[in-house]
Symmetry: C2
Subunit: 495 residues, 2 copies
């Protein structure tokens, strides 16, 4: 059909079976400042009962944003919020009150510490769903977890919504968890205490995704943003375990030029990285790439010339936060780092990763989520992702802690299945997963290995064996494997 | 239902009405090199008749990738390919043969020069669809234009598919058109002549989106990658027009601190930028931001301290390509720059842009696509996007060229509607769109203005008026406004 469009042209609305809409007129595109306060932003985003709000955890135990947001939600009289944070810490203790008041009734995200302890004893409306970093990214990408509003903490942002974690008094390193939320959430609010001139000089989150910039007094407490989990242990037992990790890597033949490695943020893992750095120096080896969280320790290895590139998704200490301002290197958002639905990730083919555990079992299953009394106290983080990505996944732990056997018949909760765990390094020796015959053959004669059963027996001898947790029947939490399948359930703990 | 999953745990498959799939086992994730040859890559991507292949144009008239890809397609015996390139140049003359042979039968993308000339006279199976940069991004994002395979030229890439246009002998600046193709195409092939060690040090395209890395001898001819459109004119008439642009900006009061400006790549536009730079210097003014294509000219203004930030989506000359390696500043992919479906773009609220025209009419409509004889010889580029984004959109042109009136009653093809065109600056004076009463008031008494009808009359007097093109009835092309609506149709030209 011939019609005259708004430009006064005669055009067809159907050409060879394809339909066309006539031009309706053109207008100028301008911009408005998106800066407002948090309450107004939430209101304008249409906040209502039952909404899912997502948050990142890069302000760690110094974060003020989750609490402030929930206060605004309460003020607005809205209930039954589903939290979809990437992690939660002790600073989020007020969330317990928000749960009691009915402001929050579900959580799909990692919980560390007091909130986990509370929920372990007081089940929510629906079990807490725990996912790895990569698993959560995939869940948001595929729509399994859909944030109605993404709340993105930024240490600086401009009035149009370009935002960063690199600049400002509360800098915490490049924002790397929230890109997928920014793209898929219906509405996006950047929360910042520092409005900078347009254009913001770093832009991990860009204006194209942002509806509002909520200005608050302070997004966090910089002293607590840099978490205590990044201190290297001084405990001689733990240092001994760390040394054994490097001995194992060496025996396995992976300490060589162009190796790619990662450490977790725990004390033993960091110490192992320190000793690995020394080994690289001693053998005059240059690694290709270090991935994962950035610390001064890793930067030192980089600056000594013993690792060529740094890929990092988190920045753990103040030194590193300052360093990245001038040496951005290769920041990787979590999708680049660990999205299991992607066509390639920075952690695929890691040579080695050193990770922690609250418990391990004789099937090499690892628990990092619950304590042996059953309480849910930790998130999954990148544990699953890197374990499956690494050729040599090393789990470190003492065989027992106080009167509790860490090496045991069955872990309380499976975080990472034994299928992808290659070695368990303890104060009483190194056990290698019998599935890894190749690895056993490689290290034979170079280092001593023990069976996991021996380690378990020693642990049971010293402690009298595990004490059964006092559990109820209600499921309070779930661990998912990063492909979305259900790995384990976590039961209520009776007080 | 209680089932035992692959981790030997008893789990429920339904919890409070939500279904869960049991864990089925975990495996290690590794990586393989994605490097292969172009033909193998196409085959493995399942290339078949009727597929849509997308390309970017950042190698401009030095591009070898489109021709090489179509040769491989021919070799594989595949027909009826739909081309979805961002632009095409004279170097792509072989496409005419591919059309004649039936290898290519549709084009949705900009065509410059010989291929456009050919199609103007020899209609394809379906009209060529022309979109602006931002309009094309939106069309791929929304699925209106769906590439089966995205072919992404890169001047360097690593074996996993991390790719850049910044490094290598044929560097052309950050890849900025292809992110949307990488995300939405079913399959993605990076084509490069330079495989670098993993990890590639710049990564505008990341491995997560890439299926194959096709290694070719050469992706292009560096001498021609840097296009001739970026030379500043020496023609005194054109220089006069450029000077008038700056006079108009000054009269309109936009030459002030924190202004944001852009130029097109044409000779007059670049000259106008040079004079704007001189004016900034003379008035000691510091602009906030320059957007668009990067040239030495713009870098000089930046380095002189008269513009604070550079946002750029293309890099036009060798000097700038080298410069960005060490001074990345703020590269913006086309989605950030101009996606009309986004929540904010770098071009929103531009203070001014200076653009060219093949024709303008008394309704201030602008044509950049066809010549007055009706032949389709140019793409839309960012013309529509920036015209609508700028508060003061200035079109520059002489009132006639040879015996052809440029200012006329009706443009042959509408590229950018008069609704968003504010002023037309010619060798015979400046016409301001009567819709812009505010602008007319502002400049009154400061500069002379003429009516567009006067300019048209002068042009007609000098040339004897327009000659009607010798057109057929078949529609060979369409121009779309960036919102996807149909702006104009382009007819066959009889030989």
């Amino acid at each position: 059909m011939l019609v005259k469009n708004a430009a006064d042209r005669l055009i067809e609305t159907k050409i060879k079976n394809r339909s066309f809409e006539p031009f309706k007129g053109a207008k100028k595109y301008s911009y408005r400042s998106k800066v407002t306060d948090l309450m107004t932003a939430l209101k304008k985003c249409g906040l209502k009962d039952g909404f899912t709000l997502s948050f990142h955890h890069q302000l760690r135990n110094g974060d003020f944003v989750i609490n402030q947001t929930l206060e605004a939600v309460r003020e607005l009289g809205v209930k039954n919020i589903h939290m979809a944070q990437t992690a939660m810490f002790n600073v989020h203790q007020p969330v317990i009150d928000f749960i009691k008041e009915g402001v929050v009734n579900r959580i799909e995200g990692s919980i560390n510490g007091v909130v986990g302890d509370y929920i372990s004893k007081n089940p929510l409306d629906f079990p807490v769903i725990l996912r790895s970093h990569g698993g959560r990214w995939a869940a948001v990408k595929t729509g399994e977890l859909h944030p109605d509003i993404a709340i993105i903490a930024a240490s600086s942002a401009d009035e149009r919504g370009n935002a960063t974690g690199v600049l400002g008094d509360n800098a915490f390193g490049p924002i790397s968890y929230s890109q997928v939320d920014a793209i898929h959430a219906d509405k996006v609010i950047v929360v910042t205490d520092t409005i900078v001139d347009y254009p913001c000089e770093y832009q991990e989150i860009q204006e194209r995704y942002v509806d509002y910039v909520a200005q608050v007094d302070r997004i966090g407490d910089p002293d607590k943003i840099m978490s205590g989990t990044t201190k290297i242990t001084e405990d001689p037992t733990k240092l001994g375990i760390a040394h054994k990790c490097v001995d194992l890597m060496d025996a396995a033949g992976i300490i060589k030029n162009d190796m790619v490695f990662q450490s977790g943020a725990g004390g033993i893992s960091l110490a192992a990285m320190k000793f690995l750095g020394e080994k690289l120096e001693e053998k005059n080896i240059v690694a290709k790439c270090a991935t994962g969280g950035l610390t001064k320790l890793i930067i030192d290895i980089y600056e000594s010339g013993h690792v060529k590139h740094l890929y990092y998704s988190q920045v753990f200490d103040g030194y590193s936060v300052n360093w990245v301002k001038n040496n951005l290197e290769l920041p990787a958002d979590i999708g680049h780092y660990a999205d299991p639905t992607s066509k390639g990730r920075t952690i695929d083919g890691l040579d080695t990763v050193v990770l922690g555990a609250t418990e391990v079992d004789t099937d090499f299953n690892v628990n990092v989520n619950t304590h042996s009394d059953g309480r849910l106290l930790h998130g999954i983080g990148g544990h699953q992702d890197t374990a499956a990505g690494a050729s040599l996944c090393i789990i470190t732990c003492p065989i027992f802690r106080k009167k509790n056997p860490v090496v045991r018949e069955n872990v309380t909760t499976i975080t990472t299945p034994g299928d992808v765990v290659d070695a368990i390094v303890t104060n009483e020796g190194i056990a290698i997963n019998p599935r890894r015959k190749d690895l056993i053959k490689k290290v034979k004669g170079k280092i001593d290995i023990v069976s996991i059963e021996e380690l378990k027996n020693m642990a049971y001898d010293e402690t009298g064996g595990p004490v059964k947790p006092n559990r109820g029947n209600e499921i309070i939490g779930l661990t998912k494997w990063f492909d979305g399948t259900l790995l384990d359930v976590i039961y209520r703990v009776k007080e």
